[in-house]
Amino acid sequence: MADKPRRLNLNQKYQLMTRGLDWETTYQSMDDVFPYDKYEGIKIKDWDKWQDPFRLTMDAYWKYQAEKERKLYAILDSFAQNNSQLNISDARYMNAVKIWMQGVTPLEYAAFRGYAMLGRGFRGAGARVACQFQSIDEMRHYQTQMHAFSHYNKFFNGFRQYSRIRDRAWYLSIPKSYFEDAVTAGPFELITAISFSFEYVLTNLLFMPFVSGAAYNGDMATTTFGFSAQSDESRHMTLGLEVIKFMLEQHEDNLPIVQRWLDKWFWRGYRLLGLVGTMMDYMLPKKVMSWRQAWEIYWEESGMALFNDLSRYGLRPPKYHEVATKEKYRITHEFWSTIYQFSHATALYTWIPTNEELDWFSAEYGELFDTVYRPRYEYWAELHKNGERFFQKRLPVVCNVCQIPIFHTMPDDPLMNCCLVTEYKGTKHQMCSQGCKDIFDHEPEKYCQAYIPPQQIYQGNCGGATLEAYKEWLHIKEEETGEYYGSEDHRMWEEWKAQAAGTAVASA
């Protein structure tokens, strides 16, 4: 042994700290200890080839994350003490935050558990440690989000019954089924779906414009947890890219499996993001970036650069990405039109955009908006003015894969509805698109199990066969739902504003 300690660099230190901790078991077979990491057909010759781009040891992790948490909670505390909800641009904005709490926060929790499964399940120590860090990060995300939303919950509707509607509400099956689809798949598919397809390829579309939008709309709570979570997310994204390269470098037989997963999870993720795009376009009173523009920057530019880079492994861009690009002019408007008509069956409020906002849409989306969606909104606004706010009577038919109401249109014809049908074991299943139909047809046994809320409701499994009974089962009261203008949230906001104006006058 040398007398003077050798110097170890970051990489060497990390290797020693993590690698070699595991061992090849002999009293029990490795396949019994790690029963799940082979059945998908992914072949791994050498787990030691796994590269860790961010070489965090546990002590460094504690240190950095504690610093982030101290900052975050200091801001959340002062936010609550100062009633900073009064600084948001408009109470309509809160509906974006409600969607987050109802639909996204539960996914953070599910990711915590899913990555714990990976952190236990992969037989390579490097991969396991990376997944363990992600697991505990995702736990952080659900908790910081709930702590941030806790204050909003005290004032606004749509938060209080989240643990009930998270599982039961028809529209929340969209994010929920997405994540359950990933977690019920094998470990390599799960990590491909979430770390790569969602976090690397698509998450920028969720966090960057939306959180930036939250900042612009005065929501410092969401901005703070959002950006703070995003600093973890950049580690997760890197893990996603690493895992793809790792699988493809390990064995040539992995390529077709990975390509199929990328096709599937791109489409599934893209469909889910339509909801986020809608939040961004419609629920941010002060606009930062339209969905169309975000799609161009983060998919057409960054996504394509990524797939160019990956082409050396023989990967091609995911199937139907051209369809998604064609839909960039319409998807959020089709989505909003749908939620607008069904919001009386949600814990959200909807509204017709102001004239100023409609002008912004016209500028961002051009002719199609002016010819199709704007007239529709103006018509509904007219109805509302005449006391006939438009709502549908029955719940919509939803896609049996992505669970989104079947409102999407044909790739080359934005006026023609798209509904595709597959018959499996004597039952007809509707799909919203070729992308979803391919997914169903590849694994019909999986998707025919899906819990389809509208069907369940009309079979009487959700508190009764009527919409009223269903809403009671969800614990959603009449005043917590439907039209924004005149709602409890709206009235409270107007009161706050009036009080503020009154005191301003008094003191002047």
Partner: protein
């Protein structure tokens, strides 16, 4: 528009989320711990069966034979949620970092007498693999456990064990002046040295257990309850008494951590045992099944360290564990 906030009268509509209020009683203000530990894990409406375990739902109460009215009762008395957990650990790591740096700069560990260095090298360094095994087992509970608080505390416990394994690695590297050979040697012994084989077999057997609560009892109560006192109280005391106070500086965290983790382990076992006679009988049965094996696994280590005093040391450790068993309510 933004509103002048100082003069506006603001009345909250509610105190907390409905499910939290239902559990705690209407109007009661929850702690930050409670607000994120009640009803977060979903229990109904699953879309698809896991392809890796079609017998169960993604989260399924049937993955343990323990029954609880409400698994959310298995709370952590330390009240760790992510923020309080990492802040507490970061304080500890900062203090420990100072100790490490003093020990490294002054060469305090390399100056120990050869006999002590030998014992640390032979016992403590290979133990990093046992800590990794504890990480594996706690991640199993985090993954497949049920209810909100248990998987979360198990995840902390799992990450703590990764931290332990890495701190042991650093101790090894200090002893060897950063020559990684010491780790290879320790691993070779872990794999082949007869002294380690009963423990390695014990751990590998635990890796294939399917009942997460049984695994909790085996890993966090029995294995830790025997091995941590053996290494970080008795061996450590021995080293310190023989002039190796520096060793205590770099293992301080293990001692603090163990005292703290024990509170969680005992509280959750006690809660489960207190829930029903069936739970209590089951936990007792598991304890009786595994305790002799755990003692067997630890015995060769005790013999190596304490030679003819080993039986006496092991008895002291086992007595303490018995006392804990009694307080938990096991027969």
């Amino acid at each position: 528009m933004s509103i002048d906030i100082k003069t506006t009268k603001i009345e909250p509509r509610r105190v907390t989320f409905d499910n939290v209020a239902e559990k705690l009683g209407e109007g009661k203000i929850p702690s930050r711990y409670q607000e994120v530990m009640i009803g977060v894990q979903q229990e109904e409406v699953f879309h698809y069966r896991p392809t890796w375990d079609p017998e169960h739902e993604i989260f399924d109460a049937d993955r343990t034979a323990i029954n609880m009215q409400d698994f959310d009762d298995l709370v952590d008395p330390r009240q760790y949620y992510y923020g309080t957990y990492v802040i507490q650990r970061s304080k500890q790591q900062e203090a420990l970092e100072k100790n490490f740096s003093v020990v490294e700069k002054r060469g305090l560990l390399t100056a120990l007498d050869a006999g002590l260095t030998e014992r640390i090298t032979k016992i403590i360094v290979p133990f990093r693999h046992a800590e990794w095994g504890a990480n594996t087992n706690n991640l199993f509970i985090a993954a497949y456990g049920f209810g909100t608080p248990m998987p979360i505390a198990a995840d902390f416990q799992g990450m703590d064990r990764l931290g332990n394994a890495q701190y042991i690695t650093r101790i090894g590297l200090i002893l060897s002046n950063n020559d990684p050979e010491i780790l290879d040697q320790a691993k070779a012994e872990w794999l082949d040295e007869p002294m380690w084989q009963p423990l390695r077999k014990m751990l590998e057997d635990s890796f294939v257990l399917k009942d997460w609560f049984e695994l909790h009892l085996l890993q966090n109560f029995l294995l830790d309850g025997i091995l941590h006192p053996l290494l970080f109280q008795h061996l450590e005391g021995e080293v310190v008494n023989n002039g190796g106070a520096a060793f205590a500086m770099v293992t301080e965290f293990f001692v603090d951590w163990y005292g703290e983790a024990t509170r969680w382990t005992d509280h959750t076992l006690k809660t489960a045992a207190g829930e029903s006679a069936e739970n209590k009988a089951l936990l007792t049965e598991w304890r009786d099944k595994w305790l002799p094996e755990v003692k067997n696994a630890a015995a060769p280590l005790a013999e190596y360290i304490f030679a003819d005093r080993s039986a006496e040391v092991m008895k002291q450790i086992a007595d303490k564990l018995d006392t804990r068993s009694g307080k938990i309510g096991l027969e």
